[in-house]
Amino acid sequence: MSKFKKGGGKSIPAISTASLPDIVFMLLFFFMVTTVMRETTLKIEVKPPEATEVKKMEKKSLVSYIYIGSPTQSQQATFGTKARIQLNDVTFSRKEVDEIQNFINAERLSKDEDEIPYMTTSIKADENVTMGIVTDVKTELRKVNALKINYSTKKSKESN
């Protein structure tokens, strides 16, 4: 039978690559679905501190982010090196901290009313900022009654 060809079967037949696109597409769809595009470009440098007792944040759609850190190199010409607060795409100095109230109110307007109590504010602050500016931010959050907060941290490796 053809299973036992004489002579001709010496060379190995080429592996069919017809299913390669299928495999690649599968991977492609996986990454397309899991990709989260960055909504904001950071104009300040944020390197969060490390902690061990961290919890994962749930319901990402209900989280508003407040970034605190010193301006990146390209921004230092305009804003200097003092720590600034970034909300969406705009940075504010410490004196303009009351902009947070507008920001939180705008965030609330974009959500359903019944979701508002579950909204969390994530404070992503650089490890080198001082507590002064962080406390100002927290006071503003208290003023608008956005009390659920999360200090964004990296999980440090030591399990201890």
Binding site: L20, T34, K56, V129, T130, G132, I149, S152, T153
Partner: protein
Amino acid sequence: MASKRRGLPEINAGSMADIAFLLLIFFLVTTTMDVDSGISRKLPPMPEENIETPEIHKRNIFVVLINKNNKVLAGIGSPTNNIELDGNGIISESLKEDVKAFVSNNGTKDNSSESPEKAVVSLQNQEGTSYSMYIQVQNELTKAYNELRNEKANNDYGRDFDKLDLDEQKIIKKYYPMKVSEAETKAN
């Protein structure tokens, strides 16, 4: 032969893999897999005017003060003990142990808390305190409470706190409520 060629020739799909690869690589590069994680806290609501703050007995307050030089002082009633830092600026275990001893005192010692429910940790920081030190202290406080809850879970249910169901977790959280009060930042 000639009549067969009339129909549309099949499109060569050999380059489809290349196109798919290109897209795949794009998404691979742009994907950020990081999960947001952090320490959750609840801020106190803005104090209403003319409302007197309830008096808390000194023995039920554990004060942790981080001053502008990032020195950590802690103690029951007032920040008296110096918490040492090692060469890398990591605070020693003693803070966590002190908090645990304070919260789980249950009235055995006269100069420590009456019950876990009454125990309050007051965290104070100053204008110049660094954020990383603040987070480190918050982390230690969380760790102290997590360990206490875990011990209680193992005692009562024989399982780790994470493994309990929500109702059981609630009971333990009620027994060890995490009360961290943060006073306003002190000037200078």
